[in-house]
């Protein structure tokens, strides 16, 4: 992950020492969100790190792909960590947590089953916040060139001369 690999100066031990676990998914520190295995970490500047962690979980719950690591979702929502967007996002995530609390959970991130989180998202899916996050993910997630191979998609082929000699008609199972 382009921006965050550089932050791997943080060792797993440092991370864990400086942070609290948020749900089972993320490690949240004073100004960063990281994978529990420290495979990646993201510094936050405008958003509270726990807000970013919740936003990443929300992104996965909207477009869940079990073969995509969290870092792709983190990249997809990283753009909200700017002063212009932070107010709306903090409010949106606060609303999400309030909805979770209304159903007896501590907060959104602590809900164990995707089904229960999705129930909460269904309740807010017509909101501007949800639609902004969902709409942004369509390009933010699926237009990351790094995720294309994980779906088998090969992207451009012009530089390789197209598929005329590289399997445009190589289907064998018909």
């Amino acid at each position: 992950m382009t921006d965050t690999k550089a932050r791997q100066g943080l060792s797993r031990r440092d991370l864990l020492a400086r942070s609290m676990a948020a749900g089972a998914s993320f490690v949240v520190g004073s100004s960063f969100v990281a994978a529990t295995d420290a495979a990646w970490a993201m510094e936050t500047t405008a958003l509270k790190p726990e807000t970013m962690a919740t936003l990443i979980q929300m992104a996965r719950d909207i477009y869940p792909h079990d073969h995509l690591a969290d870092e792709y979702y983190a990249i997809a929502v990283k753009g909200y960590d700017v002063p212009e967007a932070a107010g709306d996002v903090e409010a949106g995530i606060a609303g999400l947590n309030a909805a979770a609390q209304g159903k007896g959970h501590a907060d959104y991130l602590s809900i164990g089953w995707e089904r229960d989180r999705v129930d909460i998202l269904r309740g807010i899916e017509d909101s501007a916040f949800f639609q902004q996050v969902r709409g942004g993910l369509v390009t933010g997630l699926y237009n990351q060139k790094a995720v294309w191979p994980l779906f088998g998609y090969e992207g451009e082929s012009y530089s390789k001369g197209g598929y005329i000699n590289r399997g445009f008609d190589d289907i064998t199972w018909l």
């Binding site: 237009n143 598929y163 008609d169």
Partner: protein, 523 residues
């Protein structure tokens, strides 16, 4: 290259737009020795400029000036500011088109006669027919190098086509092949053969697909009779006290308002911009807009009955490899009311890359129903449905005075409601498309809603009687003898076929008419 014409040169023909209609017309006039100034709102992009990346290319080529939408079509909800996926560039949407080049069927020229009355539909016979158009189709097919015409071979079938063909044959369809395509299966007219690269929609980097951008436009310019002004956005068509058109006002590349005089003006800005321009040209003499005594300017907007079906299989297809529109089933294109609708439809393979599949598979959709489909992207095959939709007077382009473009001009509002015939035809096509993939063992099929429209037709329709439409059989407006319409907006009805070949054939024919009228002193 063409010597530039003076703004005050009132001997030139001004052509507005340089796509399948305007680009071809400009060249055909130039070849006949007629002086032409073509005004193109977009910039010039050639194969070396095209980008094989869906969103980046969209940003480069698509018409993104503001438009608004209304009506019950899903595009108005999911893509409210983007009713169409068309191109703003020299060559227009011939940069983006897939290349399918089909002639109308004879009965489609006379839809009112052959279909009979259809409630709510404003069907009308074209004032021309298949026999009249045959020689012009011949010329168009030669210009475009259409496969399976003039002894040209067809393209080879890619993986997506092979699934489609095998399923079609299991269902008993017989008119199944790799299409009549303006994509070279072998070198033709100085352009190389298709390399099965995909990204036909993003501009063909090999030039194997015909586009006016690198054929008709430079050839017209080479005659010295054609000047193409890029980034020239026409604001208004001007006329004198006798109601004769005298020129156009346009914003040049620097945003300055210019006035080009003209002997005649040909409007070819597509079915949104052409009526918008006629309406925005309203004057004291023509308060309802130019050429609008019938009240039909902007009405009868058609976009083809479309939709897609994707099939998911338990093994890879890799549909993105090769020609985007790689084959066709024509068995359902006939008019056969026993199916529960008039007119017919074509099934044509289509592939989208992962980014556009995510955007268009089920706009607004989310959750596992959506993502498990994308998880199977590599194992997907896809087809597009294109059928005749019903012209309706209330489906129309109007001016939205509440929303202005970057030049302060009211934008086009595009209103569209599906006709019950459109819905019945789409449902039939969804069933047949799914059956094709089910026959090949699909584990899941996805009836996908229409994309923003690329086939935009009918808003300045052609009619025998001036009361019924905007232009006559030559595309010449009924009201103003030196004002022409030269794009798909002149379509009386839409037929089932992809429209480009017919737009090109009409443009060649119109060039012949205009040149003849000039030499006869009638223009």
């Amino acid at each position: 290259m063409a010597a530039p014409f003076d703004l005050s040169d009132d001997s030139v023909i001004v052509v507005i737009g340089t796509g399948a209609g305007g680009g071809v017309l400009s060249n055909e006039l130039a070849q006949r020795g007629v002086s032409v100034v073509a005004l193109e709102a977009g910039g010039r992009y050639l194969p070396e400029d095209y980008v094989n990346d869906e969103w980046e290319s969209f940003g480069q080529l698509a018409w993104l000036d503001p438009r608004t939408t209304s009506g019950d079509w899903r595009v108005a909800r999911d893509f409210s500011g983007l009713p169409a996926w068309i191109v703003k560039a020299v060559g227009g949407t011939t940069t983006h088109w897939a290349g399918a080049s089909l002639r109308f069927q004879d009965h489609e020229w006379k839809a009112a006669t052959n279909y009979g009355p259809v409630q709510g539909a404003n069907l009308l016979d074209w004032p021309i027919d298949g026999a009249e158009m045959a020689p012009w189709y011949d010329k168009a097919e030669k210009k475009l190098g259409v496969t399976r015409t003039n002894d040209m071979p067809g393209l080879p079938g890619c993986n997506n086509y092979k699934v489609f063909e095998a399923g079609a044959k299991k269902l008993g369809y017989t008119e199944v092949h790799t299409g009549r395509m303006a994509i070279n299966a072998q070198e033709y007219d100085g352009r190389m053969a298709c390399q099965q690269t995909g990204f036909c929609f993003q501009g063909c980097k090999w030039g194997a697909k015909w586009s006016a951008a690198y054929t008709d436009i430079p050839r017209g310019e080479a005659t010295g009779n054609l000047e193409v002004r890029e980034k020239a956005h026409v604001a208004r068509i001007l006329h004198d006290d006798s109601g004769t058109v005298t020129g156009v006002e346009y914003f040049d590349a620097d945003g300055n308002l210019q006035m080009q005089k003209a002997r005649a003006v040909c409007v070819a800005g597509n079915s949104f911009e052409s009526p918008r321009l006629l309406l925005n040209s309203a004057s004291a003499m023509f308060p309802d807009g130019l050429a609008n005594s019938s009240g039909q300017v902007g009405r009868n907007y058609m976009r083809h009955m479309t939709g897609s079906v994707y099939g998911v299989f338990d093994q890879p297809v890799k549909m993105w490899r090769g020609t985007t529109m790689a084959g066709i089933i024509q068995d359902e294109a006939r008019h056969d009311p026993s199916r529960g609708f008039v007119g017919g439809y074509e099934l044509e393979t289509l592939a989208l890359g992962l980014p556009f599949m995510a955007a268009f598979l089920d706009p607004g959709g989310w959750g596992r129903e959506f993502t498990t489909a994308l998880d199977a992207y590599e194992n997907m095959a896809g087809m597009w449905i294109v059928g005749e939709d019903m012209p309706q007077e209330t489906n129309r382009v109007t001016l939205n005075h509440e929303v202005k473009d970057q030049y302060g001009l009211p934008v086009a509002n595009v209103h569209f409601d599906d006709h019950p015939n459109d819905i019945a035809m789409r449902n039939h096509a969804y069933t047949q498309g799914a059956a094709i993939y089910d026959a090949m063992g699909a584990t899941r099929t996805l009836p996908t809603p229409p994309y923003p429209s690329t086939h935009n037709l009918g808003t300045n329709r052609m009619s025998e009687n001036p009361r019924d439409g905007v232009v006559n059989k030559w595309g010449r407006t009924h009201d103003i003898p030196n004002l022409f319409v030269s794009d798909g907006s002149q379509f009386t009805t839409g037929a089932a076929e992809n429209p480009t070949l017919t737009i090109v054939a009409l443009a060649i024919r119109q060039a012949d008419h205009i040149a003849g009228e000039l030499s006869r002193g009638n223009l």
